[in-house]
């Protein structure tokens, strides 16, 4: 099986990033991987991080609260608040940084995610749109990513090259 390509595009004028990826699996299984915390915990965090779910209530108005733990045990709490769910079709949610009780940290911007799922024969495609309210929000995330994530990105690249 050949490695699938991730199609990535940025629309900075509209503060939007889009990620598209297909998987050799039926829609039902891909949907489960995005909606069940026991499966999300196994793949959501890019190595060497680990996602550890505290609570998951997958319904409109519910949320997923998890800790993105680093290799030294440090972590960042994240909250995905589900606003709209069409089973096996669409998830719209907000993503925020928070404390371990799910209280949102207002110092950091909230991101808005739209995840669309579609099936074509035995292949399932997931399209993710990430938008920010303000240009300043995107710039803050950019600066956080640049300062704190660049090393992690290089680690990911190293792991990828070792495969």
């Amino acid at each position: 099986m050949t490695k699938r390509e991730t199609v990535f595009s940025k629309d900075l004028a509209n503060r939007k990033l889009t990620v598209v990826r297909s998987f050799d699996a039926p829609l039902e299984r891909v949907w489960s991987a995005w909606s069940e915390s026991e499966i999300l915990d196994q793949w959501w965090a890019p190595h060497p991080y680990k996602a550890v779910t505290k609570t998951m209530d997958f319904r409109e108005g519910g949320f997923w609260l998890y800790n993105m733990m680093g290799p030294t045990g440090d972590g960042s709490w994240c909250k995905e608040s589900y606003q709209k769910i069409n089973p096996e079709e669409l998830i719209i949610n907000a993503v925020s940084f928070c404390d371990e009780d799910g209280n949102i940290n207002m110092e950091f911007p909230t991101m808005h995610w739209k995840k669309e799922f579609s099936e074509n024969e035995s292949e399932t495609t997931v399209t993710i749109e990430i938008t920010y309210d303000k240009e300043a929000d995107m710039e803050m995330i950019l600066q956080m990513g640049f300062k704190e994530g660049f090393t992690a990105g290089l680690d990911n690249l190293e792991q990828y090259l070792l495969q």
Binding site: T6, D24, Q42, N156
Partner: protein
């Protein structure tokens, strides 16, 4: 390379790693639920 381009590349690497992990999981149904 501009700062934003470096960040975008890091963002891409994160997602590709994440999706590769999901690919591996989907190939092994027994591993779906821990």
């Amino acid at each position: 390379m501009k700062e934003i381009d470096i960040w975008v590349e890091q963002f891409r690497a994160t997602w590709e790693t994440r999706f590769d992990q999901l690919d591996n999981l989907l190939k092994n149904p027994k591993n779906n639920k821990s």
